[in-house]
Amino acid sequence: MRTEDFEFLAKTLKERSGLMLTPDKVYLLESRLTPLARKSGLDTLEALVQKLRVHGDQGLIRDVTEAMTTNESFFFRDNTPFDLFKGKVLPAMEKARGTRKRLRIWCAAASTGQEPYSLAILLRESWFKWRDWNIEIIGTDISTQVLEKAKAGTYSQFEVQRGLPIQLLIKYFAQEGDVWRLNDDIRKMVTFRSFNLLDNFFSLGTFDVIYCRNVLIYFDQATKTLVLERMAKCLAKDGTLFLGAAETVLGITDVFRPVRGQRGMYVGSDGDAEKIMGLNQ
């Protein structure tokens, strides 16, 4: 790939999605965009870049962005963020929101839906506590393609075996030929919408819990800071943020602080979430 083509694509992706593409990722561009070029009736990657440059085709730019974002996801990924949700966050929220009975959860990089659906399943497992609550789980992603799959709630045999205990498969899925479909009860608990983390967050409202895992790693420092500071503004004072195992707020922003001894869990620096959850500060 020509250097100027790489630079053009890297710049476009950075502007559109915050995605940072270093020169060692040329192979990724080639392997993911060549099929897209062919699908668009173009012979080569060069031709694709040319079309983007000359026409600034918005649809094509969106397709390129979608092809380059990583969408790997599985149920109960890394376990800990879900154990903490069940063991710490929910008991705290049950008390703190006991009067209003309203809970809003945001999965900011929902991909094909496994993360918000895992949270919905956990709520369903203690439904007697939550049945008269107004609970919103919102899953957003920049890629409309993955959101289509998320909304459908259908997963392959391989996908339902990565992280999902068999008892939960029996309880919450139905088999339809080669795929496994989540029951409507669970699917209805999650709303999916397309959202770019570079856009402003005002339309989203305020959340009690935010999951933003394995997406900041693709951003540069300034973008990480921007996104985290906007998240702090739309998180309740006693709210909780979960980041991926390889991510941190340290050295990026001081609007959040890590909860000691609880990997991947963060609270607002001026908030009182730890006290409510009975965690040591």
Binding site: Q161, P165, I170, Q175
Partner: protein
Amino acid sequence: MKLCLVVDDSKVIRKVARRILEELSFEIEEAVDGQDALEACERNMPDVVLLDWNMPVMDGLEFLKSVRARADFTQPVVVFCTTENDMAHIRTAIEAGADEYIMKPFDREIIEAKFVQVGLI
């Protein structure tokens, strides 16, 4: 080191499972059918059994029922690992006392995830 008994009539499957589980620090014993597995349990009770369903002599379900009926056994964790991939089979296995269920084909990731779920890793 935990002991895993791999029960499958296919030599290839036993070999693949052995390689994955050895990497996950399990000691491995092999059995070729349910009867063979039952005898292995009597000699040396494993911590976990990775169990195929369809096998000659004694199938996996029959083996599982025999094990669960034995009051003198220290009960092992049993993880089915079979090409039977419909809900009816899965329910039958769980009702008979299986702890987890893997639908073939499997890979390292699936085995690892399932073994984490039953608390072996």
